[in-house]
Protein backbone atom coordinates (compact mmCIF):
# COMPACT_ATOMS: atom_id res chain seq x y z
CA UNK A 1 0.00 0.00 0.00
CA UNK A 2 1.51 3.34 -0.97
CA UNK A 3 2.34 5.67 1.88
CA UNK A 4 0.85 9.16 2.02
CA UNK A 5 3.25 11.87 0.82
CA UNK A 6 3.03 13.65 4.12
CA UNK A 7 1.64 13.31 7.60
CA UNK A 8 -1.65 15.15 7.39
CA UNK A 9 -1.75 16.39 10.95
CA UNK A 10 0.03 19.57 12.00
CA UNK A 11 3.01 19.25 14.26
CA UNK A 12 5.50 21.70 15.70
CA UNK A 13 8.94 21.93 14.12
CA UNK A 14 12.00 21.09 16.15
CA UNK A 15 14.46 20.47 13.34
CA UNK A 16 17.42 22.54 12.26
CA UNK A 17 17.14 26.18 11.24
CA UNK A 18 19.31 27.93 8.69
CA UNK A 19 21.52 30.77 9.84
CA UNK A 20 19.84 34.17 10.02
CA UNK A 21 22.71 35.57 7.97
CA UNK A 22 21.55 33.62 4.93
CA UNK A 23 17.97 34.90 4.81
CA UNK A 24 18.85 37.40 2.07
CA UNK A 25 19.85 34.45 -0.05
CA UNK A 26 16.37 32.92 0.29
CA UNK A 27 14.86 36.17 -1.00
CA UNK A 28 17.43 36.38 -3.79
CA UNK A 29 16.94 32.75 -4.86
CA UNK A 30 13.22 33.27 -5.26
CA UNK A 31 13.84 36.39 -7.35
CA UNK A 32 16.38 34.52 -9.53
CA UNK A 33 13.98 31.66 -10.02
CA UNK A 34 11.21 34.01 -11.07
CA UNK A 35 13.50 35.92 -13.43
CA UNK A 36 15.18 32.97 -15.10
CA UNK A 37 11.97 31.07 -15.68
CA UNK A 38 10.61 33.94 -17.75
CA UNK A 39 11.01 33.11 -21.42
CA UNK A 40 11.16 36.80 -22.27
CA UNK A 41 14.28 37.12 -20.17
CA UNK A 42 16.21 34.75 -22.43
CA UNK A 43 14.66 36.27 -25.55
CA UNK A 44 15.90 39.71 -24.51
CA UNK A 45 19.32 38.35 -23.55
CA UNK A 46 19.73 36.79 -26.99
CA UNK A 47 18.29 39.87 -28.65
CA UNK A 48 20.98 41.94 -26.91
CA UNK A 49 23.50 40.13 -29.14
CA UNK A 50 22.13 41.84 -32.24
CA UNK A 51 25.01 44.29 -32.70
CA UNK A 52 27.62 41.58 -32.31
CA UNK A 53 25.74 39.26 -34.69
CA UNK A 54 25.47 41.98 -37.34
CA UNK A 55 29.14 42.80 -36.86
CA UNK A 56 30.16 39.15 -37.16
CA UNK A 57 28.09 38.80 -40.33
CA UNK A 58 29.57 42.04 -41.72
CA UNK A 59 33.14 40.96 -40.99
CA UNK A 60 32.46 37.54 -42.49
CA UNK A 61 31.23 39.07 -45.73
CA UNK A 62 34.18 41.49 -45.87
CA UNK A 63 36.57 38.61 -45.23
CA UNK A 64 35.03 36.43 -47.92
CA UNK A 65 35.03 39.26 -50.46
CA UNK A 66 38.63 40.11 -49.59
CA UNK A 67 39.73 36.51 -49.97
CA UNK A 68 37.90 36.19 -53.29
CA UNK A 69 39.60 39.32 -54.67
CA UNK A 70 42.91 38.45 -53.13
CA UNK A 71 43.35 41.95 -51.68
CA UNK A 72 44.78 42.89 -48.30
CA UNK A 73 41.79 45.13 -47.48
CA UNK A 74 40.72 42.65 -44.84
CA UNK A 75 44.04 42.75 -43.06
CA UNK A 76 44.08 46.56 -43.21
CA UNK A 77 40.50 46.92 -41.97
CA UNK A 78 40.72 44.34 -39.21
CA UNK A 79 44.12 45.57 -38.17
CA UNK A 80 42.77 49.09 -37.68
CA UNK A 81 39.75 48.05 -35.62
CA UNK A 82 39.74 48.97 -31.95
CA UNK A 83 38.14 45.89 -30.41
CA UNK A 84 37.24 47.48 -27.11
CA UNK A 85 35.34 50.12 -29.09
CA UNK A 86 33.19 47.32 -30.47
CA UNK A 87 32.27 46.28 -26.95
CA UNK A 88 31.47 49.90 -26.14
CA UNK A 89 29.28 50.22 -29.23
CA UNK A 90 27.55 46.91 -28.52
CA UNK A 91 26.92 48.01 -24.95
CA UNK A 92 25.63 51.43 -26.07
CA UNK A 93 23.34 50.07 -28.76
CA UNK A 94 21.84 47.51 -26.38
CA UNK A 95 20.76 50.05 -23.77
CA UNK A 96 17.15 49.67 -24.83
CA UNK A 97 17.45 45.92 -24.29
CA UNK A 98 18.97 46.46 -20.82
CA UNK A 99 16.03 48.75 -20.10
CA UNK A 100 13.58 46.04 -21.17
CA UNK A 101 15.39 43.44 -19.08
CA UNK A 102 15.39 45.71 -16.08
CA UNK A 103 11.69 46.36 -16.43
CA UNK A 104 10.96 42.68 -16.93
CA UNK A 105 12.74 41.42 -13.85
CA UNK A 106 12.88 44.48 -11.63
CA UNK A 107 9.96 46.86 -12.00
CA UNK A 108 7.68 44.79 -9.81
CA UNK A 109 10.30 43.51 -7.38
CA UNK A 110 9.20 45.72 -4.49
CA UNK A 111 6.13 47.36 -6.07
CA UNK A 112 4.26 44.07 -6.33
CA UNK A 113 5.16 43.24 -2.74
CA UNK A 114 3.82 46.65 -1.71
CA UNK A 115 0.60 46.00 -3.60
CA UNK A 116 -0.05 42.60 -2.08
CA UNK A 117 1.13 43.42 1.46
CA UNK A 118 3.87 40.82 1.00
CA UNK A 119 6.22 42.95 3.10
CA UNK A 120 4.18 41.86 6.12
CA UNK A 121 4.96 38.26 5.26
CA UNK A 122 8.68 38.94 4.82
CA UNK A 123 9.14 41.16 7.84
CA UNK A 124 7.02 39.04 10.18
CA UNK A 125 9.51 36.24 9.61
CA UNK A 126 13.04 36.37 11.02
CA UNK A 127 14.11 38.52 8.08
CA UNK A 128 15.55 41.99 8.59
CA UNK A 129 14.87 44.88 6.28
CA UNK A 130 18.49 44.75 5.12
CA UNK A 131 18.11 41.03 4.30
CA UNK A 132 15.00 41.76 2.27
CA UNK A 133 16.62 44.62 0.36
CA UNK A 134 19.89 42.80 -0.19
CA UNK A 135 17.96 39.77 -1.43
CA UNK A 136 15.86 41.86 -3.78
CA UNK A 137 18.94 43.71 -5.01
CA UNK A 138 20.88 40.52 -5.65
CA UNK A 139 17.76 39.03 -7.22
CA UNK A 140 17.80 41.86 -9.73
CA UNK A 141 21.54 42.27 -10.11
CA UNK A 142 22.32 38.71 -11.16
CA UNK A 143 19.69 38.43 -13.93
CA UNK A 144 20.79 41.82 -15.27
CA UNK A 145 24.40 40.71 -15.15
CA UNK A 146 23.57 37.45 -16.92
CA UNK A 147 21.52 39.35 -19.50
CA UNK A 148 24.48 41.62 -20.19
CA UNK A 149 27.07 38.87 -19.99
CA UNK A 150 25.39 36.60 -22.55
CA UNK A 151 26.05 38.86 -25.60
CA UNK A 152 29.29 40.34 -24.30
CA UNK A 153 30.98 37.06 -23.47
CA UNK A 154 29.58 35.50 -26.62
CA UNK A 155 31.41 38.10 -28.71
CA UNK A 156 34.51 37.91 -26.56
CA UNK A 157 34.78 34.16 -27.08
CA UNK A 158 34.03 34.54 -30.77
CA UNK A 159 36.71 37.22 -31.05
CA UNK A 160 39.31 35.15 -29.20
CA UNK A 161 38.72 32.27 -31.61
CA UNK A 162 38.37 34.20 -34.88
CA UNK A 163 40.08 37.60 -34.56
CA UNK A 164 43.11 36.71 -32.49
CA UNK A 165 45.39 37.31 -35.50
CA UNK A 166 43.95 40.82 -35.83
CA UNK A 167 44.93 41.88 -32.33
CA UNK A 168 41.75 40.92 -30.49
CA UNK A 169 43.76 39.71 -27.50
CA UNK A 170 47.04 41.54 -27.95
CA UNK A 171 45.49 44.99 -28.38
CA UNK A 172 44.47 45.04 -24.71
CA UNK A 173 45.51 42.20 -22.47
CA UNK A 174 42.97 43.23 -19.82
CA UNK A 175 40.07 43.46 -22.22
CA UNK A 176 38.09 40.67 -20.54
CA UNK A 177 38.56 42.22 -17.09
CA UNK A 178 37.52 45.62 -18.41
CA UNK A 179 34.48 44.22 -20.18
CA UNK A 180 33.42 42.38 -17.02
CA UNK A 181 33.92 45.54 -14.94
CA UNK A 182 31.80 47.42 -17.47
CA UNK A 183 28.82 45.08 -17.18
CA UNK A 184 29.26 44.61 -13.42
CA UNK A 185 29.08 48.35 -12.84
CA UNK A 186 26.12 48.76 -15.15
CA UNK A 187 24.21 45.90 -13.54
CA UNK A 188 24.90 47.30 -10.04
CA UNK A 189 23.73 50.73 -11.11
CA UNK A 190 20.56 49.52 -12.80
CA UNK A 191 19.64 47.13 -9.99
CA UNK A 192 19.92 49.89 -7.37
CA UNK A 193 18.01 52.43 -9.42
CA UNK A 194 15.18 50.12 -10.46
CA UNK A 195 14.80 48.89 -6.89
CA UNK A 196 14.44 52.47 -5.68
CA UNK A 197 11.83 53.30 -8.33
CA UNK A 198 9.98 50.04 -7.70
CA UNK A 199 9.72 50.79 -3.99
CA UNK A 200 7.80 53.99 -4.73
CA UNK A 201 4.84 52.20 -6.28
CA UNK A 202 2.20 49.63 -5.41
CA UNK A 203 2.05 48.12 -8.89
CA UNK A 204 4.89 46.76 -10.99
CA UNK A 205 3.51 48.16 -14.22
CA UNK A 206 3.28 51.67 -12.73
CA UNK A 207 6.85 51.41 -11.49
CA UNK A 208 7.92 50.18 -14.93
CA UNK A 209 6.10 53.00 -16.70
CA UNK A 210 7.68 55.60 -14.42
CA UNK A 211 11.17 54.15 -14.88
CA UNK A 212 10.75 53.92 -18.64
CA UNK A 213 9.43 57.50 -18.79
CA UNK A 214 12.47 58.75 -16.85
CA UNK A 215 14.76 56.72 -19.11
CA UNK A 216 13.32 58.05 -22.37
CA UNK A 217 13.06 61.67 -21.21
CA UNK A 218 16.65 61.69 -20.03
CA UNK A 219 17.80 59.89 -23.17
CA UNK A 220 16.06 62.56 -25.23
CA UNK A 221 18.02 65.16 -23.27
CA UNK A 222 21.24 63.19 -23.87
CA UNK A 223 20.54 63.09 -27.58
CA UNK A 224 19.99 66.84 -27.60
CA UNK A 225 23.37 67.23 -25.93
CA UNK A 226 24.91 64.95 -28.52
CA UNK A 227 23.52 67.15 -31.31
CA UNK A 228 24.76 70.24 -29.46
CA UNK A 229 28.17 68.61 -29.21
CA UNK A 230 28.26 67.84 -32.92
CA UNK A 231 27.22 71.41 -33.72
CA UNK A 232 29.83 72.78 -31.31
CA UNK A 233 32.48 70.57 -32.85
CA UNK A 234 31.58 72.09 -36.24
CA UNK A 235 30.58 68.76 -37.71
CA UNK A 236 32.96 67.75 -40.42
CA UNK A 237 33.99 71.29 -41.22
CA UNK A 238 36.06 71.65 -38.07
CA UNK A 239 34.77 75.06 -36.78
CA UNK A 240 35.02 74.15 -33.14
CA UNK A 241 33.18 75.92 -30.28
CA UNK A 242 35.26 74.85 -27.28
CA UNK A 243 33.10 75.83 -24.25
CA UNK A 244 29.80 74.62 -25.77
CA UNK A 245 31.44 71.37 -26.81
CA UNK A 246 32.82 70.92 -23.31
CA UNK A 247 29.47 71.57 -21.63
CA UNK A 248 27.50 69.39 -24.06
CA UNK A 249 29.96 66.54 -23.74
CA UNK A 250 29.57 66.62 -19.94
CA UNK A 251 25.77 66.98 -19.92
CA UNK A 252 25.47 64.14 -22.42
CA UNK A 253 26.15 61.72 -19.59
CA UNK A 254 23.30 62.99 -17.42
CA UNK A 255 20.86 60.23 -18.25
CA UNK A 256 20.33 56.64 -17.20
CA UNK A 257 22.01 55.23 -20.29
CA UNK A 258 24.45 58.16 -20.45
CA UNK A 259 25.82 57.37 -17.01
CA UNK A 260 26.34 53.76 -18.01
CA UNK A 261 27.97 54.70 -21.30
CA UNK A 262 30.24 57.13 -19.45
CA UNK A 263 31.19 54.37 -17.04
CA UNK A 264 31.84 51.98 -19.93
CA UNK A 265 34.09 54.52 -21.66
CA UNK A 266 36.08 55.13 -18.48
CA UNK A 267 36.48 51.43 -17.75
CA UNK A 268 37.41 50.51 -21.32
CA UNK A 269 39.64 53.57 -21.64
CA UNK A 270 38.24 54.79 -24.94
CA UNK A 271 36.11 57.55 -26.38
CA UNK A 272 34.57 55.13 -28.83
CA UNK A 273 34.56 55.00 -32.60
CA UNK A 274 32.00 54.50 -35.37
CA UNK A 275 30.32 51.07 -35.60
CA UNK A 276 32.19 48.16 -37.23
CA UNK A 277 35.42 50.13 -37.16
CA UNK A 278 34.40 52.04 -40.26
CA UNK A 279 36.47 55.13 -40.95
CA UNK A 280 34.55 58.34 -40.16
CA UNK A 281 35.31 61.95 -39.32
CA UNK A 282 32.29 62.27 -37.00
CA UNK A 283 33.65 63.38 -33.63
CA UNK A 284 33.07 61.16 -30.63
CA UNK A 285 32.03 62.51 -27.25
CA UNK A 286 35.09 62.05 -25.06
CA UNK A 287 35.03 59.81 -22.02
CA UNK A 288 34.30 61.70 -18.82
CA UNK A 289 36.96 61.95 -16.11
CA UNK A 290 36.89 58.96 -13.77
CA UNK A 291 35.39 60.86 -10.84
CA UNK A 292 32.76 62.52 -13.01
CA UNK A 293 31.67 59.08 -14.20
CA UNK A 294 31.91 57.35 -10.85
CA UNK A 295 30.38 59.89 -8.47
CA UNK A 296 27.00 60.30 -10.24
CA UNK A 297 26.71 56.52 -10.63
CA UNK A 298 27.43 56.01 -6.95
CA UNK A 299 25.09 58.84 -5.93
CA UNK A 300 22.20 57.60 -8.07
CA UNK A 301 22.72 54.01 -6.91
CA UNK A 302 22.88 55.07 -3.27
CA UNK A 303 19.82 57.26 -3.81
CA UNK A 304 17.88 54.31 -5.21
CA UNK A 305 18.81 52.11 -2.29
CA UNK A 306 18.04 54.90 0.19
CA UNK A 307 14.58 55.32 -1.34
CA UNK A 308 13.98 51.61 -1.06
CA UNK A 309 15.23 51.59 2.53
CA UNK A 310 12.83 54.37 3.49
CA UNK A 311 9.87 52.84 1.69
CA UNK A 312 10.19 49.24 2.86
CA UNK A 313 8.11 49.05 6.02
CA UNK A 314 5.77 46.51 7.52
CA UNK A 315 2.62 48.52 6.92
CA UNK A 316 -0.60 47.30 5.40
CA UNK A 317 -2.09 48.63 2.21
CA UNK A 318 -5.86 48.73 2.72
CA UNK A 319 -7.69 48.14 -0.54
Amino acid sequence: MPEPIADLSYRGYSGEHLSEKRRWLVVAKMAWRNAFKKRAFWVFSVFACWYYLVMIAFFYVIEQVGIARGSDVVTQLFGSISWKDQFLTGFTYSQIVWLSLGLLVGAGSIANDNGTNALLVYLSKPVRKVDYLLGKWAGLFLPLLVGMAVPTLFFYLYGVVNFREYGFVSQDSYLLVKVLAMILGAACFQASLILGVSSLFNQGRMAGAAYAACFFLLTFFSNLMWIAFLVAEGGRRGHRNGPLSEIASRLYYLSIDGLQIGWAKVVLGTDGSPPFGMPSRTPQIPAPPLLLALIPILLVSAGGMFLAWRRVRAVEVVK
Binding site: I5, A6, D7, L8, S9, Y10, R11, G12, Y13, S14, G15, E16, H17, L18, E20, R23, V26, V27, M30, N34, G108, N112, D113, G115, T116, N117, A118, L120, V121, Y122, L123, S124, K125, P126, V127, R128, R313, A314, E316, V317, V318, K319
Partner: protein, 306 residues
Protein backbone atom coordinates in the same frame (compact mmCIF):
# COMPACT_ATOMS: atom_id res chain seq x y z
CA UNK B 1 0.10 28.90 33.82
CA UNK B 2 3.04 30.77 32.32
CA UNK B 3 3.06 33.85 30.20
CA UNK B 4 3.97 34.11 26.53
CA UNK B 5 4.42 37.87 26.56
CA UNK B 6 4.84 40.53 29.14
CA UNK B 7 4.41 44.24 28.44
CA UNK B 8 5.36 46.99 30.85
CA UNK B 9 4.37 50.64 30.64
CA UNK B 10 4.28 50.59 26.88
CA UNK B 11 3.51 53.81 25.03
CA UNK B 12 3.30 53.82 21.23
CA UNK B 13 2.69 57.00 19.28
CA UNK B 14 2.03 57.71 15.61
CA UNK B 15 2.93 61.40 15.43
CA UNK B 16 0.74 63.08 18.02
CA UNK B 17 -1.72 60.17 18.19
CA UNK B 18 -1.14 57.88 21.14
CA UNK B 19 -2.11 54.35 20.12
CA UNK B 20 -1.07 52.67 23.38
CA UNK B 21 -0.75 54.63 26.60
CA UNK B 22 1.31 53.34 29.53
CA UNK B 23 0.04 49.88 28.73
CA UNK B 24 1.01 46.91 30.87
CA UNK B 25 -0.24 43.36 30.47
CA UNK B 26 0.80 39.77 30.97
CA UNK B 27 -0.40 37.57 28.11
CA UNK B 28 -0.90 34.05 29.42
CA UNK B 29 -0.36 30.78 27.60
CA UNK B 30 -3.28 29.24 25.74
CA UNK B 31 -5.75 30.93 23.48
CA UNK B 32 -6.21 34.58 24.38
CA UNK B 33 -8.59 37.03 22.75
CA UNK B 34 -7.60 40.63 22.23
CA UNK B 35 -10.86 42.53 22.33
CA UNK B 36 -11.53 46.14 21.59
CA UNK B 37 -13.39 48.42 19.24
CA UNK B 38 -11.71 49.71 16.08
CA UNK B 39 -8.80 51.97 16.99
CA UNK B 40 -8.41 50.51 20.47
CA UNK B 41 -4.77 49.60 19.81
CA UNK B 42 -5.06 45.86 19.15
CA UNK B 43 -3.08 45.85 15.91
CA UNK B 44 -0.53 48.26 17.38
CA UNK B 45 0.02 45.87 20.27
CA UNK B 46 0.56 42.98 17.86
CA UNK B 47 2.95 45.04 15.76
CA UNK B 48 4.85 46.01 18.87
CA UNK B 49 5.18 42.37 19.84
CA UNK B 50 6.64 41.69 16.38
CA UNK B 51 9.02 44.64 16.63
CA UNK B 52 7.41 46.52 13.73
CA UNK B 53 6.95 49.74 15.70
CA UNK B 54 9.33 51.52 18.02
CA UNK B 55 7.71 52.27 21.38
CA UNK B 56 7.97 55.82 22.68
CA UNK B 57 8.34 54.37 26.18
CA UNK B 58 8.22 51.05 27.95
CA UNK B 59 8.87 47.63 26.54
CA UNK B 60 8.44 44.00 27.25
CA UNK B 61 9.30 40.45 26.38
CA UNK B 62 7.83 37.85 24.05
CA UNK B 63 8.59 34.20 24.84
CA UNK B 64 11.24 35.45 27.24
CA UNK B 65 13.04 37.61 24.68
CA UNK B 66 13.21 41.36 24.88
CA UNK B 67 11.26 43.34 22.29
CA UNK B 68 13.52 45.64 20.28
CA UNK B 69 16.68 43.69 21.13
CA UNK B 70 15.86 40.17 20.05
CA UNK B 71 13.24 40.78 17.38
CA UNK B 72 14.65 38.14 15.03
CA UNK B 73 14.56 35.46 17.72
CA UNK B 74 11.03 36.54 18.61
CA UNK B 75 9.89 36.32 15.00
CA UNK B 76 11.60 32.94 14.69
CA UNK B 77 9.10 31.64 17.24
CA UNK B 78 6.06 33.69 16.31
CA UNK B 79 3.65 33.37 13.40
CA UNK B 80 1.63 36.35 12.23
CA UNK B 81 -1.63 36.45 10.30
CA UNK B 82 -2.16 40.06 9.17
CA UNK B 83 -5.59 41.62 8.98
CA UNK B 84 -5.35 42.63 5.35
CA UNK B 85 -5.06 40.34 2.37
CA UNK B 86 -1.40 39.51 1.84
CA UNK B 87 0.54 37.11 -0.33
CA UNK B 88 3.66 36.97 -2.43
CA UNK B 89 2.62 37.50 -6.03
CA UNK B 90 3.17 34.95 -8.77
CA UNK B 91 3.36 31.84 -6.61
CA UNK B 92 1.15 28.83 -6.14
CA UNK B 93 -0.04 28.09 -2.62
CA UNK B 94 2.53 25.41 -1.95
CA UNK B 95 5.36 27.56 -3.33
CA UNK B 96 4.20 30.49 -1.24
CA UNK B 97 3.96 28.56 2.01
CA UNK B 98 7.25 26.74 1.37
CA UNK B 99 8.90 30.10 0.67
CA UNK B 100 7.43 31.46 3.93
CA UNK B 101 8.95 28.42 5.65
CA UNK B 102 12.35 29.14 4.15
CA UNK B 103 12.08 32.75 5.24
CA UNK B 104 11.34 31.32 8.67
CA UNK B 105 14.66 29.50 8.57
CA UNK B 106 13.64 26.01 7.45
CA UNK B 107 15.90 24.15 5.03
CA UNK B 108 14.35 23.95 1.55
CA UNK B 109 13.29 20.30 1.74
CA UNK B 110 11.79 20.70 5.21
CA UNK B 111 9.97 23.87 4.14
CA UNK B 112 8.37 22.06 1.22
CA UNK B 113 7.40 19.06 3.34
CA UNK B 114 5.84 21.25 6.00
CA UNK B 115 4.09 23.42 3.39
CA UNK B 116 2.22 20.33 2.20
CA UNK B 117 1.36 19.33 5.78
CA UNK B 118 0.20 22.76 6.85
CA UNK B 119 -1.86 23.32 3.72
CA UNK B 120 -3.52 19.97 4.26
CA UNK B 121 -4.23 20.87 7.87
CA UNK B 122 -5.69 24.23 6.84
CA UNK B 123 -7.99 22.57 4.34
CA UNK B 124 -6.19 23.70 1.20
CA UNK B 125 -4.75 20.36 0.20
CA UNK B 126 -6.78 20.16 -2.98
CA UNK B 127 -5.99 23.71 -4.06
CA UNK B 128 -2.31 23.81 -3.18
CA UNK B 129 -1.04 24.06 -6.76
CA UNK B 130 -3.33 26.93 -7.69
CA UNK B 131 -1.94 30.47 -7.83
CA UNK B 132 -2.87 32.31 -4.64
CA UNK B 133 -4.28 35.20 -6.69
CA UNK B 134 -7.14 32.93 -7.78
CA UNK B 135 -8.19 32.06 -4.21
CA UNK B 136 -11.47 33.12 -2.64
CA UNK B 137 -11.45 35.31 0.48
CA UNK B 138 -11.90 32.31 2.73
CA UNK B 139 -9.03 30.47 1.10
CA UNK B 140 -6.83 33.55 1.36
CA UNK B 141 -7.50 33.69 5.10
CA UNK B 142 -6.53 30.03 5.36
CA UNK B 143 -3.34 30.46 3.42
CA UNK B 144 -2.40 33.40 5.63
CA UNK B 145 -2.79 31.03 8.55
CA UNK B 146 -0.74 28.37 6.75
CA UNK B 147 2.16 30.75 6.10
CA UNK B 148 2.05 31.83 9.74
CA UNK B 149 2.20 28.22 10.92
CA UNK B 150 4.69 26.68 8.53
CA UNK B 151 7.86 27.37 10.50
CA UNK B 152 6.40 25.85 13.67
CA UNK B 153 5.88 28.90 15.87
CA UNK B 154 5.20 28.70 19.60
CA UNK B 155 2.94 31.75 19.45
CA UNK B 156 0.48 32.74 16.74
CA UNK B 157 -0.67 36.33 16.42
CA UNK B 158 -3.95 36.40 14.51
CA UNK B 159 -5.26 39.81 13.52
CA UNK B 160 -8.97 39.57 12.69
CA UNK B 161 -8.76 36.02 11.30
CA UNK B 162 -12.45 35.90 10.39
CA UNK B 163 -12.38 39.23 8.58
CA UNK B 164 -14.51 39.21 5.43
CA UNK B 165 -15.57 35.57 5.73
CA UNK B 166 -19.07 34.28 5.06
CA UNK B 167 -20.80 32.37 7.92
CA UNK B 168 -19.54 28.98 6.76
CA UNK B 169 -15.98 30.22 6.23
CA UNK B 170 -16.09 31.93 9.60
CA UNK B 171 -17.23 28.74 11.27
CA UNK B 172 -14.42 26.77 9.65
CA UNK B 173 -11.80 29.34 10.58
CA UNK B 174 -12.97 29.37 14.20
CA UNK B 175 -12.73 25.58 14.33
CA UNK B 176 -9.27 25.69 12.78
CA UNK B 177 -7.96 28.27 15.23
CA UNK B 178 -9.46 26.38 18.14
CA UNK B 179 -7.92 23.14 16.95
CA UNK B 180 -4.50 24.74 16.60
CA UNK B 181 -4.63 26.25 20.08
CA UNK B 182 -6.39 23.48 21.96
CA UNK B 183 -5.21 20.33 20.16
CA UNK B 184 -1.81 21.29 18.80
CA UNK B 185 -0.47 23.21 21.77
CA UNK B 186 0.27 26.44 19.96
CA UNK B 187 -0.30 29.61 21.99
CA UNK B 188 -2.63 31.94 20.12
CA UNK B 189 -3.42 35.62 20.54
CA UNK B 190 -6.53 36.44 18.51
CA UNK B 191 -7.34 40.07 17.89
CA UNK B 192 -10.95 40.78 16.96
CA UNK B 193 -13.87 43.03 17.59
CA UNK B 194 -16.26 40.13 16.94
CA UNK B 195 -17.21 38.92 20.41
CA UNK B 196 -18.85 35.63 19.39
CA UNK B 197 -15.68 34.61 17.54
CA UNK B 198 -13.54 35.32 20.57
CA UNK B 199 -15.96 33.56 22.88
CA UNK B 200 -15.85 30.44 20.76
CA UNK B 201 -12.11 30.27 20.26
CA UNK B 202 -10.53 31.70 23.38
CA UNK B 203 -10.39 30.87 27.06
CA UNK B 204 -9.18 34.28 28.19
CA UNK B 205 -9.54 37.83 26.96
CA UNK B 206 -7.74 41.13 27.18
CA UNK B 207 -9.98 44.15 26.65
CA UNK B 208 -8.44 47.31 25.22
CA UNK B 209 -10.04 50.69 24.77
CA UNK B 210 -8.37 53.90 23.64
CA UNK B 211 -4.94 52.35 24.03
CA UNK B 212 -5.54 51.31 27.64
CA UNK B 213 -6.11 47.95 29.31
CA UNK B 214 -9.69 47.80 30.58
CA UNK B 215 -10.13 44.18 31.61
CA UNK B 216 -8.35 40.85 31.54
CA UNK B 217 -9.15 37.34 32.65
CA UNK B 218 -10.95 34.10 31.93
CA UNK B 219 -14.05 34.59 29.84
CA UNK B 220 -16.17 32.74 32.39
CA UNK B 221 -14.91 35.06 35.13
CA UNK B 222 -15.70 38.15 33.12
CA UNK B 223 -19.20 36.90 32.41
CA UNK B 224 -19.88 36.07 36.05
CA UNK B 225 -22.36 38.31 37.85
CA UNK B 226 -21.69 39.53 41.40
CA UNK B 227 -23.71 37.83 44.13
CA UNK B 228 -24.04 34.41 42.45
CA UNK B 229 -27.62 34.81 41.18
CA UNK B 230 -29.03 31.59 39.79
CA UNK B 231 -31.25 30.71 36.89
CA UNK B 232 -33.87 27.98 37.33
CA UNK B 233 -35.91 26.43 34.58
CA UNK B 234 -38.84 24.19 35.45
CA UNK B 235 -40.13 21.21 33.50
CA UNK B 236 -43.67 22.57 33.64
CA UNK B 237 -45.03 25.97 34.75
CA UNK B 238 -45.69 26.02 38.48
CA UNK B 239 -47.29 29.06 40.10
CA UNK B 240 -46.39 27.81 43.59
CA UNK B 241 -42.66 27.67 42.99
CA UNK B 242 -41.95 31.39 43.43
CA UNK B 243 -43.94 31.47 46.65
CA UNK B 244 -42.10 28.40 48.01
CA UNK B 245 -38.78 30.02 47.10
CA UNK B 246 -39.71 33.09 49.07
CA UNK B 247 -40.57 30.85 52.02
CA UNK B 248 -37.06 29.36 52.01
CA UNK B 249 -35.50 32.82 51.91
CA UNK B 250 -34.81 33.35 48.22
CA UNK B 251 -35.50 36.67 46.46
CA UNK B 252 -36.91 36.44 42.97
CA UNK B 253 -35.23 39.00 40.74
CA UNK B 254 -37.55 38.30 37.84
CA UNK B 255 -38.23 36.04 34.91
CA UNK B 256 -35.20 34.93 32.88
CA UNK B 257 -36.02 33.45 29.53
CA UNK B 258 -38.34 30.53 30.21
CA UNK B 259 -37.29 30.36 33.88
CA UNK B 260 -36.64 32.46 36.95
CA UNK B 261 -33.66 34.45 38.14
CA UNK B 262 -33.07 34.34 41.89
CA UNK B 263 -30.73 36.43 43.97
CA UNK B 264 -27.95 34.33 45.41
CA UNK B 265 -27.33 33.54 49.03
CA UNK B 266 -23.86 33.67 50.55
CA UNK B 267 -22.59 30.72 48.57
CA UNK B 268 -23.90 29.18 45.32
CA UNK B 269 -24.29 25.80 47.05
CA UNK B 270 -26.69 27.32 49.60
CA UNK B 271 -28.76 28.89 46.84
CA UNK B 272 -28.98 25.58 45.00
CA UNK B 273 -30.02 23.70 48.14
CA UNK B 274 -32.72 26.31 48.83
CA UNK B 275 -33.99 26.09 45.27
CA UNK B 276 -34.31 22.28 45.47
CA UNK B 277 -36.17 22.72 48.75
CA UNK B 278 -38.58 25.18 47.11
CA UNK B 279 -39.13 22.74 44.26
CA UNK B 280 -39.96 19.96 46.71
CA UNK B 281 -42.39 22.17 48.56
CA UNK B 282 -44.16 23.29 45.42
CA UNK B 283 -43.99 19.94 43.64
CA UNK B 284 -42.08 21.44 40.74
CA UNK B 285 -39.45 19.62 38.68
CA UNK B 286 -36.24 21.51 37.98
CA UNK B 287 -35.00 21.02 34.46
CA UNK B 288 -32.00 23.40 34.63
CA UNK B 289 -30.15 25.07 37.44
CA UNK B 290 -27.24 27.32 36.64
CA UNK B 291 -25.27 30.27 37.86
CA UNK B 292 -26.55 33.32 36.04
CA UNK B 293 -24.02 34.97 33.82
CA UNK B 294 -24.08 37.94 31.55
CA UNK B 295 -23.11 37.83 27.92
CA UNK B 296 -19.57 38.60 26.87
CA UNK B 297 -20.99 41.62 25.09
CA UNK B 298 -22.33 43.00 28.39
CA UNK B 299 -19.01 42.31 30.09
CA UNK B 300 -17.17 43.98 27.22
CA UNK B 301 -19.43 47.04 27.25
CA UNK B 302 -19.05 47.39 30.99
CA UNK B 303 -15.28 47.18 30.69
CA UNK B 304 -15.18 49.68 27.84
CA UNK B 305 -17.50 52.19 29.52
CA UNK B 306 -15.96 51.84 32.95
Amino acid sequence: MGTVASIQNLTVQYGNFVALRDFSVEIPEGCVGLLGPNGAGKTTLIKTLLGFVDPAAGGGTVLGREIGKHDLQIRQNVGYLPEQDCHIPGLSAVEYVAYAGELGGLPTNQALRRAHEVLEHCGLGEARYRPVETYSTGMKQRIKLAQALVHGPQLLLLDEPTNGLDPLGREEMIKLVRSISHDKGVNVLVSSHLLPDIERTCDQVIVLFNGELRAQGLIEDLKRVDGHPMVVELREPNSEFARSAAQVGLNLIGPHGTGFLFEGLDRPEETATALFKAARLSGAQIRRLDLAERSLEDAFLEAVHA
